[in-house]
């Protein structure tokens, strides 16, 4: 074992098992293992849309050969970057999602470009596109056209409103963005400052988006779910198919019981901020170094929390879930818990709770964890040891740190990052040679015509 055993087994009660799982999912062994999807070729035509880019990232992490097709000037997604920060030709998010992909340029609106694209389709298994509904069909490159060239092609189209239904027609002229996906995906309407809290200024009582591109990530993950299902089916039957993915449906389908709640009551859910109106205490509490999450909802877990705080009187004051869920009581309980929590740091609270959880006479389970600043996330040893982040020294983009694959814990075919990104058109020579047999002279000609 290359890591000290103490770090690997950590707080484990079953230390043998932790050692065993480490031995079969050790991140240092990743490159000695095969890749699940390395017989799959993906053409990713995403434009200005990280749902498509993330979908192909997931496939690329699992080993698929992803060929990014950008128009000769590059994808506008390269220019989506916080405050416009660029490293050469790529913004920061693009570098994150450029992982393991080959990058070619091709103008598919030109006749010659279309022909070349069709030749690539013959060699491909999956196509991902994020254009407006029907755009590809209007170029003569829709699913029906491409199916004639490659019968078992899997064609995945991602768009805010989907590719059929009244809104798909109505919005056929509009682009889709993370924010518009989130706006339509309903989750945003119930995320934000608590509406019932009189201390929150009125101006903040409004819908709030997720800080990251959650609409795009959820949309992309659902697209990949569809693609991997289709790939599995194709291996069994040699049949391809068309996949339509609307990120807003993905968001609404993970929105707890909102659908049922409206169906039953005809009412709107209200924004609860960091409270969960159905579970309390289950929230963030002040501590010495900011805020930390503490829970103790069910009676045994509440008893445990009161015992840890040395506040038997609190348990007696609010003995059942009913008293604890009473809206007037919640701020009181919050205040009492903070009297205790604010004299410790989040790590101290974690330690106290962990020690309590090992007592044979414990009354229940208390769960805690810091409301972490992202800058501190990077310092946590746990992530460091598990290689949650990887640093890559790229010959073109330089030294960068990016988040690792969510699929890295697969014992036989772990997900991985081989390289972070490639410049616009950097792989034209390799890909056009490998798949179409084109050489230097051909490429020169195409370049002069503006096709690549």
């Amino acid at each position: 074992m290359s890591l000290s055993e103490e770090k690997i087994v950590g707080m484990a009660i079953n230390k043998e098992y932790a050692k065993f799982t480490y031995s079969i999912t050790n991140p240092d062994d990743v490159f000695r293992k095969p890749e699940a999807l390395d017989d799959v070729v993906v053409l990713d035509l995403s434009y200005g849309n990280f749902a498509g880019l993330f979908a192909s990232s997931l496939l690329a992490e699992a080993g698929a050969e992803v060929i990014r097709i950008e128009p000769p000037g590059g994808d506008i997604a390269r220019k989506m970057s916080p405050y416009g920060i660029m490293i050469k030709d790529a913004g920061l998010p693009y570098i994150v999602e450029g992982r393991n992909k080959f990058h070619i340029t091709l103008d598919i609106t030109k006749e010659e470009g279309k022909e070349i694209f069709k030749k690539l389709v013959k060699k491909a298994d999956v196509i991902i596109e994020t254009f407006r509904p029907g755009y590809m069909a209007s170029l003569g490159l829709g699913y029906e056209d491409l199916k004639k060239i490659k019968e078992d092609i899997i064609y995945c189209a991602i768009s805010s409103w989907g590719h059929f239904g009244c809104e798909a027609e109505k919005h056929a002229n509009q682009p889709s963005y993370d924010l518009t996906d989130q706006a339509k995906g309903v989750i945003m309407s119930i995320t934000g400052e608590p509406e019932l809290d009189p201390e929150v200024p009125q101006e903040y009582k409004k819908p709030l988006k997720s800080g990251n591109w959650m609409g795009w990530y959820v949309g992309g993950a659902f697209a990949t779910l569809g693609i991997t299902l289709a790939l599995f089916y194709r291996r069994r039957t040699r049949k391809g198919q068309f996949i339509d993915c609307a990120p807003c449906e993905g968001l609404f389908s993970i929105a707890n019981y909102l659908f049922q709640f409206y169906h039953m009551t005809g009412r709107k859910m209200i924004r609860a901020g960091n409270y969960d109106y159905a579970v309390f205490p289950y929230s963030y509490f002040k501590c010495k170094d900011g805020y930390t999450f503490i829970s103790g909802f069910t009676d045994p877990n509440w008893s445990a929390l009161c015992e840890i705080m040395g506040r038997e009187d609190l348990r007696q004051m609010f003995p059942t879930i009913k008293e604890r869920l009473t809206p007037e009581n919640q701020p009181k309980i919050q205040h009492e818990i903070e009297k205790w929590s604010s004299s410790y740091t989040s790590d101290e609270i974690l330690q106290i709770v962990t020690e309590y959880s090992r007592r044979p006479d414990r009354k229940g389970v208390v769960v805690t964890g810091r409301l972490e600043e992202p800058i501190d996330v990077l310092k946590r040893e746990h992530w460091h040891i598990r290689k949650t982040f990887v640093e890559i020294d790229d010959p073109y983009y330089g030294k960068v740190l990016v988040q690792n694959s969510s699929l890295k814990g697969m014992s036989e075919t772990p997900g991985r990052i081989k390289w972070v990104c490639r410049p616009i058109g950097a792989d034209n020579e390799f890909i056009f040679k490998k798949y179409l047999g084109m050489g230097r002279t051909d490429l020169k000609k195409l370049k002069s015509k503006g096709v690549i």
Binding site: Y17, M80, H163, S189, L229, F259, R271, G273
Partner: protein, 449 residues
């Protein structure tokens, strides 16, 4: 094919009336689930929509704790289902079995012999301690795909730290970057890390199934929901590493796309507006009657617009325009000039929009036990092997006889003996969320005997 023809073609291709005539992608795949709450059970739910057989193992009588999770103690229809549980119970079979019992472990091992996938979300190492962990199961079935979902993974300093959705949201940093500047960080209004974690975990299972189809090899997968949230934080990490600055909160503004923010319209709707390409931005300027802005060197290209000082200069102009324009007008102009605009939808907007009925996203299930129920449909739409909802949920243990007869090769006599000993249990507690609705006829929906 023109655009309009395409949309019509797609509508026909995805006709929801034809769904049950078509095959299922995961037909024949058997998944055993020993999970509770959301992060675990939601993974097999996604697989169940596409044809996998999901056998959910639950404690006899009471079943999964999630069966209690519902707002205001309501269990529609007629005391049958917790709203929180309803969306993850679809298409599953429920088997009542107490795995603490040595004889139950033998039954469990028989099921594992027949299984393709096993999924659990207990604390790391628990099943191993019980003698039915991966090391034991792989001996019985080397082709098994075993996936363990939890908060922090199966090894490392924080292994065995209990985790909830809210922990993954706070420790990954997503809560910190969600919220208004100078106000408190906020977690998502939903159990985001649970559902999104289960979703990517389902992708991992499918990648493993694909690999097994190629090579015959099964595998072990450990999946951490907190790591999965960290993965979804787009440019956070590379930005911090390059600039040395921490990522903060920007409210509804997307500082990587400009314009992209939420504004209040004349008719008091919250309206999201977004454009990245210069063409789309020109469209917005035309709609606002401010074509001069598109020519302004501060705003003419996306990279210029993204500069902090130019963002500050541009947003007040859009804010004012939206404040003086109603949402229907903005919607019309956005469609005409081709920029991104959408009002913030609440559940009602989605529920009542005919668009989602055509798309089968509003799905009516005629459930054999509970009758007609309307539920949310399935997000990815596959034209040859579309997902479907066959039933919405089952009373605890109702499928015990059927599943053990079909998959565990137990005789009727053995089953009765095991039930008498309390090893297995086909009877639910007479409690909301566990039992069928009161209107149930006592027979319909029972598969065997």
């Amino acid at each position: 094919m023109g655009r309009e023809d395409f949309v019509k073609w797609a509508e026909k291709e995805f006709d929801i009336k034809k769904v049950f005539e078509k095959p299922e992608a995961l037909e024949g795949i058997v998944v055993i689930e020993f999970c509770t709450l959301i992060l675990g059970p939601a993974t097999p739910s996604y697989l169940s929509e596409f044809g996998a057989t999901i056998i959910k193992l639950e404690l006899p009588g009471m079943g999964d704790t999630m069966r209690s999770l519902t707002p205001w103690g309501r269990f529609p229809p007629d005391g049958a289902h917790a709203m929180g549980y309803l969306k993850e119970s679809r298409n599953k079979y429920s088997v009542g079995i107490d795995l603490h019992h040595p004889e139950a472990k033998e039954v469990f091992k028989r099921l594992i012999k027949r299984a393709d996938v096993f999924i659990e979300n207990l604390r790391a190492g628990t099943l191993d301690r019980w003698g039915i962990g991966y090391r034991d199961l792989v001996e019985i079935n080397p082709r098994l795909i075993y996936i363990a979902n939890n908060g922090f993974g199966q090894w490392g300093p924080y292994v065995e730290r209990p985790s909830y959705d809210a922990i993954a949201q706070s420790e990954s940093g997503i809560a910190w970057i969600t919220g208004f500047p100078n106000e408190l960080p906020l977690k998502a209004g939903i159990w985001l890390a649970d559902y999104y974690g289960a979703l990517v975990s389902a992708v991992a299972v499918l990648a493993a199934l694909y690999w097994r189809n190629r090579t015959g090899e099964g595998q072990y997968i450990e999946f951490s929901q907190a790591e999965n949230m960290i993965r979804a934080l787009d440019w956070t990490w590379i930005y911090q590493c390059l600039t040395g600055k921490g990522r903060e909160r920007y409210g509804n503004r997307d500082v990587a796309i400009c314009p992209s923010d939420v504004f209040v319209s004349k008719d008091k709707e919250y309206v999201a507006i977004g454009c990245a390409t210069d063409e789309e931005f020109k469209g917005l300027c035309k709609a606002m009657g401010r074509t001069d802005l598109a020519e302004d060197p501060r705003f003419s290209t996306h990279l210029e617009r993204l500069k902090p000082e130019n963002q500050e200069a541009l947003y007040p102009i859009i804010k004012e325009w939206v404040a003086n324009t109603s949402w229907p007008e903005i919607d019309k102009l956005a469609s005409q000039y081709g920029f991104g605009a959408e009002k913030v939808h609440c559940a009602k907007d989605m529920y009542t929009d005919p668009h989602f009925e055509v798309r089968g996203f509003k799905w009516t299930v005629d459930d054999p036990v509970s009758g007609k129920v309307v539920v949310e449909g399935i997000a990815p739409k596959l034209n040859k092997t579309p997902g479907r909802i066959k039933w919405i949920g089952r009373p605890v243990g109702v499928d015990t006889y059927y599943v053990l007869t079909k998959y565990a090769d137990l005789t009727w006599k053995e089953i009765r003996e095991l039930e008498e000993k309390g090893v297995i249990g086909s009877k639910w507690k007479d409690m909301p969320g566990r039992r069928p609705p009161k209107t149930w006829d006592g027979q319909s929906g029972i598969v065997y005997p």
